[in-house]
């Protein structure tokens, strides 16, 4: 409202916390959201790792981890993993699309307040980056025992993680509200 929000970052003079953050162009964020959406389905459904023991092989996907947690009698863990690796990124992507798409075309999204609130909170629960590190650790742990193969899913997953990460990095509340108020 007052000035160009992307112009500079503002830090609190007392605690040096970042009060206003630089924003990427809205079109860039929109592109990231679209790219992430494309990656989403293959990333969570394709096998991430394949573990071979003798003639037997077991493929692990993000969704199969949910199944086994549930199967072992830990639905809460299943839910947690679902939330952090599937639902939260998905919501993040979808809400980003719903926000950035109209804003990019100078249209006010109807449910801006709800969308914004969801996006604001869901950011913290996207843990794709941690999941990628977990894959790496699992790989190290299991490769000592037997043959372990990377599945196609891991590539997709790493990309999804990167897009999601950048989407989060580019999120700027000030910029969004400015765009909202500037729009027709």
């Amino acid at each position: 409202m007052h000035d160009d929000p992307s112009a500079k970052e503002i830090h609190c003079p007392r605690c040096d916390n970042c009060v206003r953050k630089k924003s990427c162009p809205l079109a860039f964020s929109l592109g990231l959201a679209i790219a992430a959406l494309i990656m989403f389905i293959p990333a969570i459904s394709l096998p991430i790792l394949t573990f071979e023991l003798g003639n037997d092989a077991q493929q692990g996907t993000t969704l199969s981890a949910l199944y086994y947690f549930y199967n072992d009698g830990y639905p809460e863990l299943s839910l947690l993993v679902f939330l952090t690796t599937v639902l939260a990124p998905f919501v993040q992507i979808i809400i980003s699309l719903l926000l950035y798409f109209p804003l990019n075309r100078n249209i006010k999204p109807k449910q801006m307040k709800i969308y914004f609130k969801i996006l604001y909170h869901v950011r913290h629960w996207v843990m794709l980056d941690i999941y990628v590190i977990a894959v790496l650790i699992t790989y190290i742990k299991l490769s000592a025992i037997s043959e372990l193969l990377y599945g196609a899913g891991i590539v997709m997953f790493v990309f999804l993680m990167l897009f999601s990460f950048m989407l989060r990095y580019c999120f700027s509340a000030t910029a969004l509200w400015k765009a909202y108020h500037d729009a027709r």
Binding site: C15, L53, G60, D72, L77, L80, T138
Partner: protein, 201 residues
């Protein structure tokens, strides 16, 4: 005093990062209720941290993962997993797991208690460093989820009937609960409280 003046009549909307008059009940930008400080920050943080601490104990002493194979039947606690890596010379990975699973939650809770106590006594000692400490735990806190993901992957990969099966140990929900509670506790703490002077409303 200028700072206090600033805080007296201004409210910073955490959602849209907009600074507006404290007299307004609603943020003019995003229509969120305006607060100078996070709602019930201190008691929430206390409650959530203590709850996390409760879960910290079972999470660490009970097996988080069970390994069944033709030769072994093992219950692995988090520390067993760390030792496994150290024994096999994977010092880096061992350290990562240790930091993520034990060190971070513990430090997080300690830091939160420290900050809460600081606020309680109204200490003005090194407030900037305390703020940095908070920022640090806020940043790294999420990484405690690592162990949950590793278990999830292990469980889904190692399913070989009689030969080798990995299943979830009953400490895993406690661990997850602890992680989530520390995350929420961190989230509910408001660093601005560090600058609020005791008795000064």
């Amino acid at each position: 005093m200028t700072h206090d003046d600033l805080s007296m009549d201004k409210a910073f909307c955490l959602h849209c990062k907009h600074l507006s008059s404290a007299q307004l009940h609603i943020c003019p930008v995003c229509n969120e209720p305006l607060r100078q400080r996070k709602k019930n920050s201190i008691s929430r943080t206390w409650a959530l941290s203590l709850a996390a601490l409760c879960f910290f104990i079972p999470a660490n002493i009970f097996p988080i993962m069970k390994t069944l194979s033709i030769t072994t039947y093992e219950n692995n606690t988090i520390l067993d997993g760390v030792f496994y890596f150290y024994k096999n010379g994977e010092f880096f990975v061992g350290t990562v797991v240790f930091i993520a699973s034990i060190f971070i939650p513990a430090v997080k809770m300690l830091v939160l208690f420290f900050l809460l106590l600081s606020v309680k006594i109204g200490s003005r000692w090194r407030r900037e460093e305390k703020n940095s400490l908070y920022k640090a735990i806020h940043l790294i806190g999420r990484w405690s989820m690592l162990d949950i993901f590793v278990i999830g992957l292990m469980v889904s990969l190692v399913q070989f009937g009689e030969i080798a099966v990995v299943t979830t140990g009953y400490a895993a929900p406690s661990f997850a609960a602890m992680v989530i509670l520390t995350l929420l506790a961190t989230e509910s703490f408001d660093t601005r409280l560090l600058w609020d002077e005791k008795g000064k409303k």
